[in-house]
Symmetry: C2
Subunit: 142 residues, 2 copies
DNA sequence: AAAATCGTAACCAATTCAGTTACGAACTTG
DNA sequence: CAAGTTCGTAACTGAATTGGTTACGATTTT
């Protein structure tokens, strides 16, 4: 399993919520669209709820709905909510401090990765859930 | 183990080569700096060699050296050589085509991820191995 | 010929991940 | 209030990935 698909599933879940009649959908309903298990969806919904992006309600007629309008939810919000780290990891063990390279490489690599992460986040901040829904509409009914 | 540290180790290895006296170092020597096993280093060196970034020589007095000057090797080159995919994965299973969202989400997510990947690569293309070495020099001997 | 070094295959332990089962808590509805 | 629905969460599983390790043959210098 290469990588982490929580991000894809989270965006998918938000899109379902944005397009759901009444603005609400159960974890079962969302799981049916993603084609996975409701518990997996609930875990993601839970993370989105902690980030303040969705509201979850228990009980009969419960389910999830977006906490704000799709225009006010950026993909970066979703990315952060599911704790996706889009960066490669650093060394598994600390490098050898007796070597000039080993002694100084860590901060240099961290800077590098931070730069890349900022570029990534800048890009994702510019796309909203409303953009996703619009793209879906265009593709579904052209 | 979260993520993949081949990228960090590859940049580290290249930095060692760039600063090595004679421009050559053995996998054992590099492994000593990274603080890992020589075979792990050889696997990375092998990938870098396939990408044309380093030249490996067997036998006594063998070892690896950079195939071009540090100014001519970008971090993106290294990133691609080790096959690092800095993007989150798509759905593990195909979404439900009977749902409007499930039917159209895949290309939309792919576009999104492609945008992010381009941003990431643009950033990494602007940094060369010579920049890394310069940063190391600054930190080591200020 | 001997020593050094790479290239690669095989295997291992640890980790992560999505999926699944299970069950209690909370909520709506009749 | 009773019944049914839905979330929240813990526990477990099987598959996949990863870095590490051992081993050994091939190549090259001395």
């Amino acid at each position: 399993m290469s990588g982490n698909s929580r991000f894809a599933m989270a965006v998918h879940a938000c899109a379902v919520l944005a397009m759901a009649p009444g603005g609400t959908a159960t974890s079962d309903r969302i799981a049916g669209s993603i084609n996975t298990n409701p518990v997996v969806v609930r875990r993601i919904l839970s993370a989105l709820s902690k980030a303040g992006l969705v509201v979850n309600r228990r009980g009969a007629a419960g389910g999830a709905s977006l906490a704000r309008s799709p225009e006010a939810i950026s993909i970066l919000d979703v990315l952060r909510a599911v704790g996706e780290a889009p960066v490669p990891a650093l060394h598994p063990h600390p490098p050898n401090p007796a070597c000039p390279v080993g002694a100084g490489i860590l901060p240099v690599l961290s800077d590098l990765i931070a730069r890349a992460e900022r570029a990534w986040e800048r890009e994702m901040a510019g796309v909203t859930l409303a953009d996703i829904v619009a793209a879906l509409d265009t593709r579904t009914a052209p």
